[in-house]
Structure formats: C-alpha cells, structure tokens
Symmetry: C2
Subunit: 478 residues, 2 copies
C-alpha cells in the first residue's frame, strides 16, 4: 500500500474518527451501566467489543508521531480514554513524541509495570530523554535491567544539560578501520540485520577509537571494491563535542546540510553521533521557546491544561508587567496638575507611548534575531545604533508630523501639535536606542536576549513616552 501524506487533512480525519468512536464507546458503556448488575445485553456487549477492536486496530496502524499529535489535540478526559486503547508496544515511542505537559499527564495515568515496559522498548539515549519525567523507582528499575555498556550510555546522556550536544547524541555508530577495503566494509555491513536510522556515514576510527574520518555511504557505493577506506574517506569533517551548545550544532547542521555527524570527547575518541532529526527538533523548539518567552509564557502550554496550571505558567510575566505598569502610572502621576489643566494630554499620551512601543518592538525583534543567528557582534552596536537613530528620525518626521497635523485639527492648538510631534520623535529615538542596546547588552553578558525583550522595551517606551510628552507639556504649555 502506498500512503499519501496530506498532513493536514489526514490529521483532521484521524481526529474525527477518534472522537466519533470514543463517543460511540462512551454511549455503549453508559447503556451497559444502566442495566441491572446481573443482566447481560449480548447485543450491547458485542457492539462494545467491536468498537474497542476497531479503535485498537486503527491506532495500531498509525505512526507514533500521529498518535501523539491526536493525544495533544484532545481535551484531558478524552485524551486519557484514548491512551487506554494504545497498545503498550507503542507507549514508549509516543511518550517521546508528545510535549512535556501532555507527557506528564500520560505518565501519571500509567502504573510502574506499564512504565517499565514502555521505557525498556527504547534506546538508551531515548530513555535519557524520558528519565527526568519518570518516577524514581521506574528509573532505578530500568537501570537495573541494562547491561554495563548501556548503563554507561544512559548515565552519560543523563549527565548533560538539555541544551548541550551530550544530551542529544545517540550511540548507534558504525565503526570501521581505515586500512580495510571498501569490499570488506560492504561485507561487514551485510552482517547486520538492520543499519541504524539515518546512516549516511560510517565512522572511521583507529584501534584506539580515535576518529580518523568519515566514510560517506554515497562514496562507498560508487567506490571500486578494492580501494582502501583510507583513500575513500573524507578527512575534512565537521564534528562536535558533548559540551557544545545544541543550538550551535543545529545551526551547523543547517549551514552544512548534514544528516549525521560524529561526537568525540576531549581525547578525540568517538563516543556517539548527532542526527538531523534531533537537530530539526532543536530548531523547532528554540524558535518556539523564543516566541513563547517573548509573549511571557514560561513554557509550552497544554491547550487544555487545568486553569490553575495555566495561571502558574503565565503569572511571572504578568507580575513583571504589573510592576512596569505601576512605574509608568507613577510617571503620569507626577504630571497630574498638567493633565488637570489640559485634559487633552490624557487622551493623546497613549499615542506617543504606543507608537514608540511598536517601533521599539520592530528594532528589538530584528536585533534579537540577528544575535540568535550569530550575525551580530558587540562591536557593531555603534554603527547599528546610528542607523536605527536615522530610521527613528525619519519615522518621527513622517508620523510625528501626521499626528501633529491631526492633533491640530482636533484641538486647534499649534503649540500642542508641535509638542506631540517632538515627543513622538524623541520617543522613537528612545525606542531605537533601547531596542539596540537592551538585547546587545544582555547577549554580551551571556543572557538570552529573547526573554523579556518585548516587555522591557514596552516598559521603556511607555514610561519614557509619558515622561517626554507630559514633561515637555508642563515645561512649555503650562
């Protein structure tokens, strides 16, 4: 059978039948519950059995990633119902695919035996991914059943932070020596039942397991059988160490179009490999994280999480926002006399603040992005700042003049019109300055410039905008 992938429609179809069959199953269960305990409705019983079998049969033919996708889209109660139907053989792979918060809910619903069975079907590097979310006794149980080699691998993988290459490498490496012929390599490969996933390279090592080069399968396939690995292999290679940042490794995969790459320790011994699928996840997760963090969400949120969990995920940034809002409010308070004299100031001040915030967000987004891609060094801050000031001046000239004109039409007050134009220009310049320097300075001190950038810049342009506009007004209009 040839499968046509139309991700979107297929997912919709899957979600549709899952919900339909679950509803049918619910209905039959209810009907059964309505019967007196001692009666058996054989028609109902057999329908129930049929629906159960249909659900199980259909799930069995889905890819783990598709089941994970469906589980994530279902509200909590239905998700748990479906999870019961999933065969234990698929449990492990699905747990790897779902998001952290959904994984937590699924693991909670499993007993120790089920968890043990699910985890033991996985590779050691995959176990290491799940381990932090598992109960301690399950982890100990898993470790007890591993052989020495696997135990070492698991410990190694678990000893690295999430954002380091060491936590992402797998141990499925094919090794050959440089002094054998390609013919020998081909014969050696034929001894395997199956090669590791994504094998596009064979790693060439010496007797000491020191990495000497890589033998691309592409070259092996076209090489004459009697040529030596040594003359066929690639010696100019990209490799990583376990303490490299995974984000930088992902960028290297992207830049050099890699499929797999070796990971070596400080003595240049081959200890594992990175594969492109793990790197794709890193790229997706990093950009996702940045987006969530810019909006003030601590982490990926389960859409149907309990209200209290969502509250906890979101409270920190609302609290920060509250603090900056009170600061902006206190700036306005200083000028309450001016506002009392000229109430128009109160309706015009959000325009000054809002335009500055918009422009500041544009600048900061661009800078954060360039920093993340490694396009920007601290030394370039000054020319960049000058350029952004230029854009701010031009913005001030255009939008400031327009707002001034509208203000004049609305209030017939030339001084107020000129004043708001000047205030808008100055706030644009403040936005440009902060937009360049906040992320550059955060980056310079090793902080992630994405986190909080939007809230920080808005705080600056709000308070700054109110201060500039109301300050100028009290100085020149009162």
């Amino acid at each position: 059978m040839i499968t046509q992938i139309n991700t979107h429609d297929r997912f919709k179809d899957n979600l549709e039948w899952v919900q339909r069959l679950l509803a049918r199953h619910d209905y039959l269960l209810e009907k059964k519950a309505e019967l007196r305990p001692d009666t058996i409705d054989s028609v109902n019983e057999s329908s129930l059995r049929h629906v159960t079998e249909e659900i199980q049969e259909r799930i069995k033919h889905l890819h783990a990633a598709d089941i994970a996708h469906i589980l994530e889209a279902l509200p909590y109660a239905k998700r748990m119902r479906l999870w019961d139907f999933v065969s234990s053989a698929q449990d492990g792979d699905i747990l790897l695919e779902v998001s952290d918060s959904v994984r937590e809910s699924l693991i909670k619903a499993m007993n120790e035996g089920e968890l043990l069975a699910a985890v033991e079907s996985l590779d050691t590097d995959e176990m290491a991914d799940l381990a932090p979310d598992l109960p301690q006794n399950v982890v100990s149980g898993v470790i007890k059943n591993l052989d020495d080699e696997e135990r070492k691998q698991l410990h190694s993988a678990m000893s690295y932070d999430d954002d380091l290459v060491g936590s992402l490498m797998d141990f499925d490496v094919l090794r050959v020596r440089a002094d054998v012929t390609c013919e020998v390599v081909l014969r050696y490969l034929r001894l395997f039942d199956d090669l590791p996933k994504h094998t596009d390279n064979i790693f060439v090592v010496d007797d000491d397991n020191t990495l000497k080069g890589i033998l691309p399968i592409r070259r092996l396939l076209v090489a004459q059988p009697d040529t030596l690995v040594d003359t066929t292999m690639e010696k100019n290679i990209v490799f990583f160490q376990p303490d490299n940042k995974s984000e930088e490794a992902a960028q290297a995969f992207e830049r050099y179009d890699l499929i797999t790459a070796p990971v070596v320790n400080s003595l240049h011994k081959l200890i594992g490999r990175l594969t492109v699928d793990a790197m794709v996840d890193v790229i997706r997760e990093t950009s996702d994280e940045d987006r969530l963090q810019m909006a003030g969400l601590k982490e990926e949120e389960d859409l149907f999480a309990p209200i209290i969990k969502s509250f906890k995920n979101r409270w920190a940034w609302i609290a920060i926002n509250l603090a900056t809002a009170f600061f902006a409010s206190s700036v306005i308070q200083q000028f309450e006399t001016a506002i009392a004299q000229l109430v128009a100031l109160a309706s015009l001040m959000p325009i000054v603040a809002g335009l500055g915030g918009n422009a500041g967000n544009q600048t900061i987004t661009m800078i954060v992005r360039s920093l993340a891609m490694g396009h920007l060094q601290f030394a370039q801050a000054y020319p960049l700042w000058r350029k952004e000031l230029g854009v701010a001046l031009l913005n001030g000239l255009v939008w400031g003049a327009l707002v001034g004109l509208i203000t004049f039409i609305m209030y017939q007050d030339t001084a107020l019109a000129v004043l708001i134009m000047v205030a808008i220009t100055l706030n644009f310049m403040l936005a440009a300055t902060m937009g360049v320097f906040i992320p550059m300075i955060m980056h310079h001190f090793g902080r992630d410039p994405a986190v909080g950038s939007s809230v920080l810049i808005t705080a600056c342009t709000d308070s700054g905008g109110f201060f500039i506009f109301l300050g100028l007004a009290s100085a020149f209009l009162m």
Copy 2:
C-alpha cells in the same frame, strides 16, 4: 585535516580576519593613491599583492555558507569589497545561501557575464530559486544554454509558488526497477562518479515511471545480493505532490524523521524529490517570518540596509498602530470630563490596558502556535474559550485585587479601588475572548493568524481597557 566546528567562535574568527585584512588592503590602496601617478612603490605593491592573495586564499577554503554568513554581517561598503575577492566559482552557491536583501545587493554589483557564469554552475532547481532576483536577460541567457530536459525542469520549478512543494523539489533522483536484484542495483550505482546529495533512498518505478516504492540504502546494504528489489523495497511510503504546501511537507519530514521523499504528479509518476535540508530551511523561515510579522516587520531586514529601505519595511504596521492608537485616544476623549474631575483616572488607566494587553498576547501566542502546528480545530473554540475565561477570572481575582489594594493605599478611595479591580477583571476577559477568537476566525477563513495578531489584540485591550475603566468610573464615581 580534521575540522572542529565551533560555529560561534569560528564565525567570530572569520569576521575578525576579514575585517583586519580588508582594513590593511584599504590602507595600502590609500598609500598607493597618495603617490604621484608616475611613481611605483614596489614594497607597497608587493604588500598589496600579498594581502589580496591572502584574502582570496582564505576565502577559497571557506564553505559557501560561511562566506554568506560573513557577507551578511558586514556593513554595505565592506560587504561589496569582500564580494570582489570571492572567486566566481563560489558566487552561485553563495547567492543561494544569503538572505533576499543581501542577495539583491550582491547581484546589483555583478555584470551580466559574471551572473551567467555564477548561475550556470548550479542545478536547475537552484537556478529556479535565484531566477526571480535575476535580470531578465540573464535568465534568458541561462535558459538558452540548457538542454531540453533541464529547460523543462527549470520551467516546472519556476511555475510553482514559493510556498509549494513544487518550488522546492530537486530532480536528482535515482530510479531502479522492481524486478532486478540488489546485486544489480549495487553494480548500477557503481557506474556513477558520485551519487546525489542526501541519497538515503532509491526510488523504484515501473517502465512508465510510476512510483512503486522506495529502496532504502540501509536495506540495500544489508540485503543478500540475489534478493529482488521488489521484496526488499518499502511499499508503505510517504510521498508528496508538487502542489502540497511546503510547510505541511516540512511538518511531515519532522514527524516521520525523513531524509528524502519522492514527489509524484497526479498520475503518480515520479517527477522529483524533497530533501531534508530544504525542509529545515522551510521550518526556519516559517518561524522567522511569524516572529517578524508579529512585530510588524514585513520581511527579513538587512541589518545595514539604507535607512529608507528599513523605513519602507516597517511603515505599514506603524501606520496600522497609529490608526488603532487614535481610536484608543478617541475613547479616552469621550471621558475627558470624568478625567478632569478625577485626574487619578489618567494615571491608572494604562495599568488596566497594559495588563489586558499582556494577558491577551499570552493567549493569542498560544492559539496561533497550536493552529500552526495543526493541534487546533474550529470546533474546539468553545471549550478553549471557557478555559481561557477561567484563567482570566483567576487573573482578575489575583492581580485585580492586588492593584485594587495598591490603589487604595495610594488614593484612600475605596470606590476607585473596587472599580479598578472590576475593570481589570473585565479587560482580562475581553483579552481572553479576543485572544481565542481573532486567530481562530482568521484561520477559519484561510488567513495566516500570526500576521498582525499582536497589534490587533493590543488594540482591543487598549481601547477596551480605557472604555471599561473610564466608562465604569463615569457611571459610578461621578
């Protein structure tokens, strides 16, 4: 030589020597210019030659992606200086790697002959990527020099929109028939000098070029030589059609961990393939685009673009922001009498608006993300809305009460304190409602929910917040 990749440091080093050597070259050129026209300073001449050679030599050893990276990080004038040193053999690959705006600046600096030479070194699918940015006469020149097969490929690739699979597929496919043995396939492969990049599959077709299955290289390598392709190949495969959305293809690559996948036409004939490196670019670009668009940037911006270009890229959203800001301002204007009576309203109103904006951005970011990942269907809007209303109520209770308390301490006014608490809660609920429905409705009507989401939600919570707070105040406090 084994190359250690440390993306970040290596890039810094490269940028450092490029700038140092360019500066030295500049200095020597200036010195030469200072001489009288008829004198030759042979020491200066030879230094100049040396620096030129060193720059060229070093560039030659860099990967095209690395050179592209450096070009993007250099201010305009220096970028053009470096571009002059790049050998024409590398030009084509570099043009493929740089961002659109940088590409435009590089192409402008090349004459027709140089462009023709650069483009002709590329594959037809790569030519199609560059074609829209090239002068018409260069494109015609390129087409004239292609053979029939290549011309057909180029036309096909150019006929699809940027966001469709057809524009991303390449034509480097290896085809075998199902009725030959694995031994024959291996011998056939050995006839090539080189296999296409990222070849992890060989495509199995019949005499009519209809796709029958794929033969993973992993299986070919472990198969016994005399087994038939037909029994070894995978028949349950993921394939695409040229009019599939590239974003959905990228999600399928991510979900099923693919390296390459076949592209077939409506008659199921094999016409090309997709490779993971193109999909990685799609993932990166989509998430990038979303981020830029949320901040109101039309497209990726060259950091050192002329001020007027940056202005043009950013003006549209500032204009929209201006319109919404004036609307919010007009809301405040309706309540100027209330503000004149109680100036504290002016300093407190940004708090109500700001908190709502923050919460609304959290909700909308989450929804936009789930929609992009296909986790969310229109039917789920109602339960989701109810949940978000719950979070909004809880937020209102906690933060509203806190703001109320602080307001009471500051102004000793119980009514004002209760009123701001109620206003904040109502604005949170407005934010939740808009945060759920704006993106859901945009998505339902086939619009990209990321574009403008942040500006739209902020406009709602600003105007809404002012209206609720000032409206309640005029109703109950005046």
